[in-house]
Each structure stands twice: as C-alpha cells, then as structure tokens.
C-alpha cells in the first residue's frame, strides 16, 4: 500500500483530496489528510461579517462534509515534517505517518505580534483584523455602535492573502457609513506599503481613481514600524505618523509554524515552490498548493483552484516516471466588491496584468473585466454557493486553469 499524505484541509487540500480519491486506485493507495481545525472556513466571506452582510454561520461548516469517505482524516497539529525521511509526525499521540507523496496545503495566517504595539491592550477594542472569523465578528460589534471618527486601514507588509480584500473592505465601509447616514462623520484613510492602491499598475490606476471618487485618502509607501496605542497613532519607518480612532489592520501574513519548525520555508515560512510545476525544487515527491508556497501570484482560493489540475496532472505524471509539465501560469481572478451593489472582476497571470474585456465568454461575459458593474457584484455574492457546492466538491467549473486572452483588450 502506498500513501498520499495531504497536510491542510482548507480550499487547496480539500480539492486535492477529492480529486485524488477519484483518480488513484484505492486498492493500491491510501489517502490521508491532516488538519488541526475541524471547521472549514469560507474565508472570502469574512470580509462581509463586519458589515452584517454575512453571519458566522454563512462562512463556517464542518470539514468532514467536504472530504470524501475514502480519505482518512486526522484532526491534529503537525509536530514536524521530515521530507528527507518521507515522514510526518503529528502532535496527536505522536503519530508518525510515512508517505510516498506529500501535498502541502497549510496556508498562511496573520501574525499581529510581528508589529510592536499592535496587541498592546487595544487589540479588538479599537484595533481589529478581519482575516480571522473572531476578528471579523469583534469588528462587527464595534461598528454597530461606532459614532464615527477616523478609520485607518493599514496593510503591514506584502505578501498578504487576497490582496484585494483590504480595498474591498474600504469600499464596503464607505457604503456602510453612507447607508447609516454617517459617511460625513467618518474619515477613511488607506495606508499601504505599496506605491499605489494595488500591486498591478493598470488595475492600481483604476482602483486608485475609485478611491478618489469615494473620498478615501491613500497614504502609499507606508511601512508601519509601530502602533502607539496611547496616542492612537501608527508610525512608519520613515517617521510619518497617522492618527486613528479605529485601526483596521492586515497584519503580517506568514506560512504555518510547522514549516518553520521543519526548516522548509523562507523568512515568512512560505515554501519554495517551482512556480510552473508546483513541485518542490528540493524534494521531488513534495508538492505545494495555494498560499503555503512562495509562487509569485495572489494568495487566494481562485489561484489554488487554477493550480489544482496542474498539480494533480504533474503528480500523476511523476508516479508514472514522467517529467512534470510547466503548465501553471499564475492565473488568478478576483471579484472585487466596490460597494453600492457593484463589483469589478480582474483576471491575470504571472506575465499579463489585469486587462479590460468580458469573462468568461469572450465578447459576452456576463462579467465585465476591470470595470464596475452590478453583475460582477452578484457574481461575487453567488460565489459563496458555488464554493460550498461546486468548487470544494470538485465539480467542473466553467473556467480554464490557464489564463486566456480571448475577449480582452490589450
């Protein structure tokens, strides 16, 4: 009996488990998946919780519901990965699992303790994150009774999971305060270490204009050094100081601690990954999906989905003694909610930045690329259903893994 071991049962790990359970001969293979958490979180939904659009029950379901019965599941922390010995040790009863193939899907997580002052007493009082379900809920309680003032949204450092989420948060906040007739009482400031609103120049321009239209102040090239909770101010390394009444932070994002313990990651615990084959350059039976790796594309579920077919094909090829194919192109697409029931869709890869056009059917759509539309907003809202009912279950989706130029205007 051979073993395929999958670490992490989030979006990436669950999809790999489901797909491999169909493709491998289960007389010959056992598939094991390990995760420390019994709940599966629809992370794109966290964004909506602070504004009362989603409740926690919309975004949390038991992981078991999405894992095929043929797959063995262990809920446990991972003590250490020993890729030279092809084995992993769990915390739970110090169980050792020997594997033939390993897929790492341990994701990325926020680390507010990396920024001095961030957790000094004001954490979840007037400083919040929305990258955890607890943070999003705490923020929803705060916003319910907030009378207004200056809201600062700070991105600590790149890369972060879902790089458009901070912008969406701001657009939704602008809409939320309008609806409550208190927009005039709130000043919204967006501070980012990037040179503009987004990482890709063309999209950054369009999104930057939207910020301006909505009266949102952009403080770019802002690398936060510390939070001064006494004076309610954040300071940058180049000695700029910005006051806040409410600070919403996107803390430093890092890969799982076990990656560090196992000495497999870079300085942020992201695992070096061949960006086209998704294989580890160091251990040929180790494969990485989603935001656990250091591939220079967005750390987002859509990317994990586009990685899936390439990773699975390459692993199967490797099992047959064939070379992996360099087929992953960095394809990402994101619905960006822009408030007032509108949204923007962007579609891009390693080499091509987001362009205007129609998606997924060239010329028809129904979604418009790099442009605000109501249909894009409903696409995003429908996506939660698609995620739980189609994507995690490995149903066919009408999107190609590789990015297409059809229907785009270069």
């Amino acid at each position: 009996m051979k073993t395929l071991l999958i670490l992490g049962a989030g979006t990436g790990g669950t999809m790999v488990a489901t797909k491999m359970a169909h493709l491998l001969d289960l007389q010959e293979w056992r598939i094991i998946i390990v995760d420390r958490d019994e709940s599966h979180y629809y992370q794109p939904g966290f964004l909506f919780i602070p504004f009362g659009i989603y409740s926690p029950s919309d975004v949390v379901k038991p992981k078991r519901n999405f894992l095929p019965p043929q797959v063995e599941v262990f809920f446990s922390d991972i003590e250490i990965i020993e890729p030279d010995q092809n084995r992993v040790q769990l915390r739970y009863e110090k169980k050792v699992i020997n594997y033939d193939y390993l897929v790492i899907a341990t994701g990325s997580h926020i680390h507010p303790e990396e920024t001095p002052g961030l957790m000094d007493g004001a954490w979840r009082k007037n400083i919040f994150d929305f990258y955890t379900v607890e943070g999003a809920i705490a923020l929803s309680r705060f916003l319910k009774f907030w009378k207004g003032g200056r809201m600062v949204l700070n991105i600590t450092e790149m890369p972060i999971k879902c790089p458009v989420a901070p912008l969406e948060f701001i657009f939704l906040a602008d809409w939320f305060f309008h609806e409550r007739s208190m927009r005039d009482d709130v000043e919204i400031v967006f501070t980012t270490p990037l040179a503009g609103a987004f990482t890709k120049p063309r999209a950054s321009g369009i999104l930057g204009n939207l910020l301006e239209e909505k009266g949102i102040l952009l403080e770019s090239d802002f690398n936060i050094m510390e939070v001064d909770t006494t004076n309610q101010a954040i300071r940058s390394y180049d000695e700029r100081e910005i006051d806040y009444d409410l600070l919403v932070t996107i803390p430093t994002n890092m890969g799982a601690e076990v990656i560090d313990r196992s000495d497999m990651g870079d300085e942020l615990n992201f695992i070096p990954t061949d960006k086209h084959t998704l294989q580890s350059p160091k251990w040929e039976n180790v494969w990485i999906i989603g935001d656990a790796g250091n591939t220079p594309t967005s750390k987002a579920g859509s990317v994990a989905h586009f990685m899936l077919d390439v990773l699975v094909d390459n692993m199967l090829r490797h099992m047959e003694g064939l070379e992996p194919l360099p087929k992953f192109d960095g394809h990402a697409n994101c619905f960006i909610v822009s408030g007032f029931e509108k949204g923007i869709l962007i579609d891009f890869n390693y080499d091509v930045e987001p362009l205007p056009g129609k998606y997924p059917l060239p010329g028809f759509g129904p979604f418009s690329l790099l442009k605000e539309s109501a249909v894009n907003h409903w696409g995003k809202m429908m996506f939660r259903w698609i995620y739980w009912n189609m994507m995690l279950k490995g149903e066919d989706m009408p999107f190609e893994s590789q990015m297409s130029m059809a229907g785009k205007w270069a």
Binding site: K200, M225, E267, L268
Partner: protein, 105 residues
Amino acid sequence: MSTQTEIILETVEFDDDGFMVDPNAWTPEIAEAIADDQGIQLTDRHWVVINFARKEFEENDEPPTLRRITKRTDVNTKEIYQLFPGGPAKNASRIAGLGKPTGCI
C-alpha cells in the same frame, strides 16, 4: 554630484525606473556613483546590504525583499531606512545594480 560620478553614470544603461539594465555590468565603482547621484555616501553598513543583495541575486536570480535583508544580515529595519532613505529595498537594489524587487502580488 561629482564629475567622476557623471562620467561613470554615462557609461551605464538604466531602465525607465533607474535600475541597471544589465546586473552583470555592475562594479563597486558604479555603486558608488549611483549612490552619490542619490546623495548617499556609502559606508561599511551600506556595503553589508549591497553585498548581501548581490549574493542573493546570484543565488536566487532575484533581489531580496526588505524582510529577507533584515532577517539574514545584522542590519535592522530602522537602520536600513536610515541608510537608504525613501524605499530601502528599492534603493538598495538600485545601488547594487539589480532590478526592481518584485512587488508582491
């Protein structure tokens, strides 16, 4: 800017953002000239960063990020901002003759 700096910089090809087109054409003299052009007098501490960036580029084909520099050398973030004012990773990379550090996505 000294005349010598001008003479050196004229022999070097830069892209639109002011980064050297060919990292292999870099020399320590060019680094001094680019720094001088930015009003920076290079000290041993600057060279710790520059040499590290060059070494990283040779090994990984990519200039290091700020976090990588501060984690792998004894130069901390506060100091690197003082050494290379206004975007240290970018400026260090420019002086080291490397490309723009890949903005993360």
